[in-house]
């Protein structure tokens, strides 16, 4: 099972192996060495004297490095304690593996060490969908190097395997004659190079030299420096420090440097299958991480801007001004069997691009970037009116033009049944989901601020503000479900409200599109028993036709979604409610050892006592990793206003003291402090759960007291 797999990565290159370090992939099996969405090794098996090895232990040293302690023999039958084998592997433009044999005997030994290598060069999409290859394989020995290759017309990918010690190379592997002295050791370095990856790039040597002390990714920005540069957290609730550190390290692992970025990084969407540029995920994660690592936002804005849509292309769902959804580099993308070159099928990334640009400026004061990206921001704003306005009524709508391989739902809830009426039926297309209108409103308001402040275009600012006000007025009329007191999930083409109650209401608060008079009712729904599980806000409310506590977007709790809801609640002054959201999600993070999954079950907390993880292969997920960061911001009430950082803390019960030191921004570095209430009767170790108190303290019906 996937739990036994060892995963290491750097950027979009990663290795998934078993606990021995071996790879034996089939077309459908997700192990191997992957880079740029192609599998470069599907077989990598070590034997000593023809015998497989057994893992004694495996260390994930860093996210890019692992060490395997092995002994010859398999299973419980026989273990030769006279010999140990250590494999130490670091990933980067392929991988580097130090192989060491230790002889514990008083006699010398002569051993045959063999490494079998092969590759199926599967596209990630093929691994996910089990498709067959159309090209031809080759394998040849070039001097002391084994070359594995795949060719389809002009598409060519190669893997090179070599070693630093003398060995016999054949078309399926390397064989060593190892002489190991009494109590001595024998060692060699194995180099695996992903020699041609994409855009005609070729590599001829491994990234890392011998000995792992050189094996560091993003040389100018090591992991230690990354963590050191981020604000320091102090808290009397110890678990928060663990969660914070986990988030920072996982965020480091999720960094992805496109070849155009000059080594700078943006957050990829998830590890390992989504280590690529995603418009929506990269933007949301950059927003969440702004108070901690603002440079991620800058790179996201630049790189997405560089690839902003410029023409109509139905296959890619591309329009001028549209921000991309997903970029891929594999064979199926190359041959246009998939549209990801890049694919533009999301409608939220474009308004959110403007939102991020403004939020970034508010934190950093980097007006230079705002000037640099003026064209891109204006094109994004124009796209909202010119291309997303499919029904001509001023709302953002979506309907894919690529009906074969495009995405049906182009909002963040992109599964097939995510958008439904209260009775569970699904609306037709196009669809206008509510949160999109909020993002459009916010993009216009923020775009107006940038126009006035940086682009010095007051007329444009006036126009945007007028449009925003008009959109807000119409939205509060057209999407409001009067009898329920919340905003409908979407609007259909007949102008009917798609009237299910969903977590999207939290995003609406965040965007600011909600009339003040309606905010109280929306907040009550978010914190009410139909949406709030005790751990967090469910994607879809209990009692809706399609509600399912383990349905992907129809009842599970998404940490990212909740972090946005908490931000929204703060925006409208619901500080205690925002703190309650933080409490539940942080409690859940604690259960998951600091690493929040993409989603977990929507079961009521009172029933399950622990959050039930939604089965998914992708962990960590960028915007789940970012959720605790945004929750720190909302708990401390951090808000950049007029060049200053405002701190207005409201902490969940159970956190008595919270300090975030050296918060970077236009102010240089400042500290934020928060004080909260704790139950003084309980020792710190007894206060493991922040959110559970809410259930215990609910007023009990009178007369049932003993």
């Amino acid at each position: 099972m996937s739990d036994d797999l060892v995963k290491i990565l750097e950027g979009n290159t990663f290795v998934v192996s078993d606990a021995r370090g071996d790879i034996e992939a089939s077309l459908t099996d997700p192990t191997g060495l992957f880079s740029f969405d192609t599998r470069f090794l599907s077989r990598w098996v070590l034997t000593v004297d023809g015998q497989r090895l057994t893992a004694l232990s495996t260390d994930d040293l860093q996210y890019f490095e692992a060490r395997f302690f092995l002994v010859p023999g398999t299973g419980t039958v026989y273990v030769d304690a006279k010999l140990s084998v250590i494999r130490q592997r670091a990933v980067g433009d392929g991988f580097h593996e130090e192989l060491t044999l230790l002889n514990h005997d008083e006699n010398a030994v002569d051993l045959e060490v063999r490494v079998e290598a092969a590759s199926d060069f599967a596209d990630l999409f093929e691994v996910k969908d089990a498709l067959q290859k159309k090209g031809a394989y080759y394998s040849r020995v070039e001097g002391d190097r084994l070359v594995l290759g795949y060719e389809r017309e002009t598409f060519n990918r190669e893997t090179w395997v070599s070693a630093t010690s003398a060995c016999k190379v054949d078309e399926s592997g390397l064989t060593f004659k190892a002489h190991v002295d009494p109590h001595g050791e024998w060692t060699t370095d194995l180099h695996v190079v992903t020699a041609s990856v994409a855009w005609g790039e070729t590599r001829d040597k491994p990234k890392y030299e011998r000995h792992a002390k050189h094996a560091r990714p993003n040389q100018e920005r090591s992991l230690e420096k990354w963590v050191d540069d981020a604000p320091t957290l102090q808290c009397d609730w110890d678990w928060l420090k663990m969660i914070y550190t986990r988030s920072l390290i996982d965020l480091a692992a999720l960094r992805f440097s496109p070849r155009t970025s000059g080594g700078l990084s943006l957050p990829a969407a998830g590890l390992p299958w989504f280590m690529t540029m995603f418009g929506r995920d990269s933007i949301f994660t950059s927003l969440q991480a702004l108070p901690f690592t603002p440079e991620l936002a800058a790179t996201t804005l630049r790189e997405l801007g560089e690839r902003q849509g410029s023409r109509r292309d139905d296959f890619r769902d591309e329009d001028p001004g549209r921000i991309l959804h997903e970029m891929r580099y594999g064979e199926m993308t190359a041959f246009e069997e998939r549209p990801h070159s890049p694919y533009y099928g999301s409608v939220d990334a474009t308004p959110l691009y403007v939102v991020l640009l403004d939020e970034y400026e508010r934190w950093t004061g980097d007006a230079k970037l705002v000037r640099e990206l003026e064209y891109e921001a204006r094109a994004a704003l124009a796209w909202i009116d010119d291309y997303a306005n499919l029904m001509g009524d001023g709302y953002i709508w979506y309907q894919r033009r690529n009906e074969k391989t495009g995405l049906e739902n182009q909002c963040w809830k992109d599964s097939w049944d995510s958008i439904s009426y209260h009775d569970g039926t699904l609306p037709g297309f196009p669809r206008a989901t509510c949160e999109l209108q909020g993002y459009a409103y916010d993009a216009k308001v923020r775009g107006a601020r940038l126009a006035r402040l940086v682009w010095k275009d007051a007329a444009f600012a006036d126009k945007l503000e007028k449009e925003a006000a008009d959109l807000k007025r119409r939205f509060n009329r057209d999407f409001w479900v009067e009898e329920g007191g919340y905003f409908a999930l979407a609007r259909d083409t007949d102008g009917r409200r798609v009237d299910a109650l969903a977590s999207n209401n939290g995003h609406l608060l965040w965007s600011g599109i909600v009339d003040k008079s309606k905010a109280g009712s929306v907040a009550r729904h978010l914190m009410g028993p139909r949406l709030y599980s005790g751990w967090g806000v469910r994607t879809l409310a209990e009692g809706e036709g399609r509600y399912n506590p383990i349905g992907y977007h129809v009842g599970t709790v998404w940490p990212f979604d909740n972090s946005i809801a908490a931000w929204g609640l703060r925006r409208y002054g619901f500080k205690e409610e925002a703190a309650r959201i933080a409490a539940g999600i942080l409690d859940a993070a604690n259960f998951f050892a600091g690493r929040l999954p993409e989603a977990f079950g929507g079961y009521p907390r009172a029933i399950t006592k622990y959050p039930v993880q939604y089965p998914t292969s992708c962990s960590p997920q960028a915007w789940s990793t970012g959720a605790p960061l945004l929750l720190l911001r909302t708990m401390l009430g951090l808000e950049p206003i007029d060049g200053h950082l405002i701190v207005d803390p409201v902490l969940p019960e159970g956190i008595g003291r919270l300090e975030l030191l050296d918060i970077p921004g236009r102010w240089g570095r400042v500290d934020a402090f928060g004080r909260g209430r704790v139950d003084a009767d309980k020792k710190p170790r007894e206060r493991q759960h922040l959110g559970v108190l809410d259930h215990d303290k609910r007023p009990r019906p009178r007369g049932k007291k003993k």
Partner: protein
Amino acid sequence: MSDPTKQFFDDLAARGHVPLLKSSSGTLRFDLVGGGRTAHWYVTIRKGDVSVTHDIVEADCVVRTGKELFDRMAAGTANATAAALRGLIAPQGDLSLIIQFQRLFPGPPADCADRSEAGYARRAT
């Protein structure tokens, strides 16, 4: 006989300023191979100001590809990124320049045509 490549570069030269390339600066050299010869086009971009020439200048990014493929990209019937992933375009140097530049190629002609059809966004309000 129509030459979509020449047409494309002529149009580009006539535009003079391309806002889409506002944040780009540098020189691209296109080596277009076909009919037994290699034609060289130089495009120099200075913050969106574009000049096109055959004169030899130092290039920041050299893009070698087939003339026939370039014709199709210039006409909107081939996609540059997919072609590059297939190994048909070999860019060297500043990759950012070609990624920005390829956005000037039009989309498929049929997809651009339906812009004016009913059900599509009304621009004027």
